[in-house]
């Protein structure tokens, strides 16, 4: 299978262009969007026999027709959550609703969901056609109707030419599309995708990603996807659910998660954030953004951030993205900005578009990362080993209550 990946870059048709919008059956489109339903989780908990709690008290509302990504590191409970919605894992506590139906005790097939598995789980002994046909055959759909619907969906994913091939004779991208066709053919209310892109190489992943998104929009279907890649989640989602240790840390749009992480974990997981932990010394209401929280960070400085739910005396954190820092000479020429910090440059990495600078706060040894466009960096002219001043604005500094 691996060897087939290499073909993805060399042969253009294989790169997986779905059928043009015009050729997509209007009827299929209507049927799919009509079937689409929202999903709600109410206090859902999964506890295993050995006492391990995989998912704890998760509340979630996924609107019909939206693309939702469950994002988190491995072991955070995202796959278990997905499998509970699909009905492949029992629910210890709580309720799952698909549309208006409580599905806790329904078997997978009665939930009107379809699942796309991580390594696609295509039947190796069946042809593309037979794989796609399987679900309809099991549901007892009669042959004529089956043929029509399988043909239609195979056409949508552009695999008509390969209908008689076995999965092993297809490239990774093609296999992925068979899995998609197989999931779509039963007209599910919700499509669940378990890391659908992880087996693809980088180029194909980006391409397939936008295809998935386009298809979801076109058909107005509800997609719930599990992923551990924040890029993937950002690119695809209407709604991102960041999970950690079986709990939901934050729910929001891509933009919200990116610009205002709600916790240290989210800030770290989204990446490129400098996080400072300290004590809240002042909370002042602000006209522009909730309140301004002042955080005293031991031996490093006093930082002002924007945020909610802060109270004086609590231990909390704030974060600033490494691309929202300004780098000034030391000592700074002008009067101090809202937040500033002196650090020594330990390493400068030119990575093309971006130059990445590692710095160290001398008093504590804390590492800080600065990222700037390489063209901007040319005018800064700082050297490794040099002391510099970092400044950043209040609105770029996000208060993290936990």
């Amino acid at each position: 299978m691996d060897s087939s990946f290499s073909t993805s870059t060399s042969t253009a048709p294989d790169a997986g262009v779905l059928a043009a919008d015009a050729s997509v059956s209007q009827e299929l489109k209507q049927e799919l969007s009509a079937h689409s339903a929202g999903v709600a989780l109410r206090g859902v908990t999964k506890k295993y026999g050995n006492g391990f709690v995989a998912v704890e008290n998760v509340d979630l509302d996924i609107p019909a027709g939206s693309y939702c990504c469950l994002l988190g590191p491995s072991g955070c409970g995202k796959t278990t959550t997905l499998r509970m919605v699909a009905g492949h894992e029992s629910i210890t506590k709580g309720d799952i609703l698909i549309g208006d139906t409580r599905v806790n005790d329904l078997p997978p097939t009665k939930r009107n969901t379809a699942m796309m598995f991580q390594n696609y789980a295509l039947f190796p002994h069946k042809t593309v056609w037979q794989n796609v046909e399987f679900g309809l055959r099991m549901k007892g759909v009669e042959k004529r109707e089956r043929d029509r619907r399988v043909g239609e969906v195979i056409d949508v994913v552009g695999l008509t030419r390969f209908a008689d091939r076995k999965p092993a004779m297809l490239s990774g991208g093609q296999q992925q599309r068979v899995a998609l066709a197989r999931a779509l053919v039963t007209r599910p209310a919700v499509l669940m995708l378990d890391e659908p892109l992880s087996a693809l190489d980088e180029n194909l992943r980006v391409k397939t990603r936008s295809e998935l998104r386009r298809l979801q929009k076109q058909f107005g279907m509800t997609f719930i996807q599990v992923t551990h890649g924040q890029d993937e989640a950002f690119a695809l989602s209407d709604q991102i659910v960041v999970m950690d240790h079986g709990r939901v840390d934050q729910v929001g749009t891509s933009k919200e998660i990116f610009t205002t992480p709600a916790s240290r974990f989210v800030a770290r997981f989204v990446g490129d954030n400098n996080i400072f932990v300290g004590k809240v010394t002042a909370v002042e209401p602000s006209s522009t953004f909730g309140s301004v929280v002042t955080l005293e960070v031991d031996q490093v400085g006093r930082f002002m951030s924007r945020g909610l739910s802060a109270s004086v005396g609590m231990t909390a954190a704030c974060c600033v993205r490494s691309d929202r820092l300004s780098l000034l000479p030391y000592p700074p020429a002008e009067a101090s900005a809202a937040n500033q910090l002196v650090a020594r440059i330990t390493q400068i990495e030119f990575t093309g578009f971006i130059t990445r600078v590692s710095l160290m706060v001398e008093a504590t040894g804390d590492e800080i990362t600065y990222k700037g466009r390489s063209y901007d960096w040319l005018s800064i002219d700082a050297q490794e080993g040099q002391l510099v001043t970092l400044t950043w604005a209040i609105e770029d500094c996000i208060f993290l209550p936990h």
Binding site: T109, M115, A121, P124
Partner: protein, 285 residues
């Protein structure tokens, strides 16, 4: 290392096994083939070329009946080992989650090989004999009035002995192929609404077919040539081609025995080829 010496090394590595195969497999088979055309005068054999041996076999009712009887054993043993073997392998693969327990139970299936043939066969007597455990139990329960005669020294006993001894050859390859089935395929089948039986019929059975084929090849080839179990468990009542050949060798009718052996070999090969035609076992090797 140069290309030539690398090639030489490859040949040298393969040489010992090749030599053994040539000397102890190909050469004897060729010899048997040659001898099967020799003439037999009743007391001695003469080198030559005659089809008399084959003619004798094909015109003899005894020989044909013996072949048919051998087929009967093959069919019965195959059916019984397949049924038992599949159930055991299925249980091991899908119902035993603990890996160590799984391997332990799998090794338990090899117990029949831990004792010698003779001892194993002799120990059937107190169980199946006229006054054995089974008969006394059935008599005491009042289920039968007379001891069952067909428990020992009968076709039943022959099949029982072979099933007992060779079942492992069916279990092992089926277990192996069941273990290689991606569990996600089963979840996927359920996700698409397949019932337990449909999942078995559509996914598990086809994917374990290579294992069934390999097990079947083992059973067919072993049982086709069986004579020890046939003699010990059949008690002179049962006949198989293997036993016939052995008897003929005992009475130094080598050409006739050789001709029987050639036919047996060909029939077995045809059966194996037939199995391979039905199932593609390539991805299992």
């Amino acid at each position: 290392m140069t290309r030539a010496s690398k090639t030489l090394q490859t040949y040298l590595l393969a040489a010992p096994q090749t030599l053994v195969m040539l000397l102890f497999l190909v050469f004897p088979i060729v010899m048997i083939l040659i001898v099967s055309f020799w003439e037999f005068t009743g007391f001695s054999m003469e080198p030559g070329f005659t089809l008399d041996n084959y003619r004798a076999i094909f015109s003899s009712n005894v020989a044909l009946r013996t072949f048919l009887n051998t087929f009967k054993y093959v069919a019965l043993v195959w059916a019984a080992t397949l049924l038992i073997g599949y159930l055991v392998a299925y249980f091991l693969a899908f119902y035993v989650d603990d890996k160590r327990l799984q391997i332990g139970l799998f090794l338990l299936c090899t117990i029949p090989f831990w004792t010698s043939n003779i001892i194993r066969m002799i120990s059937w007597v107190p169980l199946l004999g006229r006054e054995g455990l089974v008969n006394s139990l059935l008599l005491n329960l009042g289920l039968i009035q007379q001891p069952l005669e067909w428990l020992l020294f009968s076709d039943f006993a022959v099949v029982l002995g072979m099933v007992h001894l060779y079942n492992f050859f069916m279990i092992a390859p089926i277990f192996n192929s069941l273990m290689r089935i991606d569990r996600n395929l089963i979840t996927a089948a359920e996700d698409m609404g397949a019932s337990g039986w449909q999942t078995f019929k559509e996914v598990i059975l086809p994917l374990s077919a290579p294992g069934i084929a390999i097990g079947s090849i083992f059973i067919v080839t072993i049982v086709m040539g069986e004579f020890v179990t046939v003699r010990l468990m059949g008690g002179g009542q049962a006949a198989s081609v293997g036993k016939l050949i052995q008897t003929q060798i005992g009475s130094i009718q080598y050409p006739l025995a050789a001709a029987n052996a050639v036919i047996l070999l060909l029939v077995t090969l045809v059966l194996v080829l037939a199995i391979l035609r039905v199932v593609n076992i390539r991805n299992e090797l």
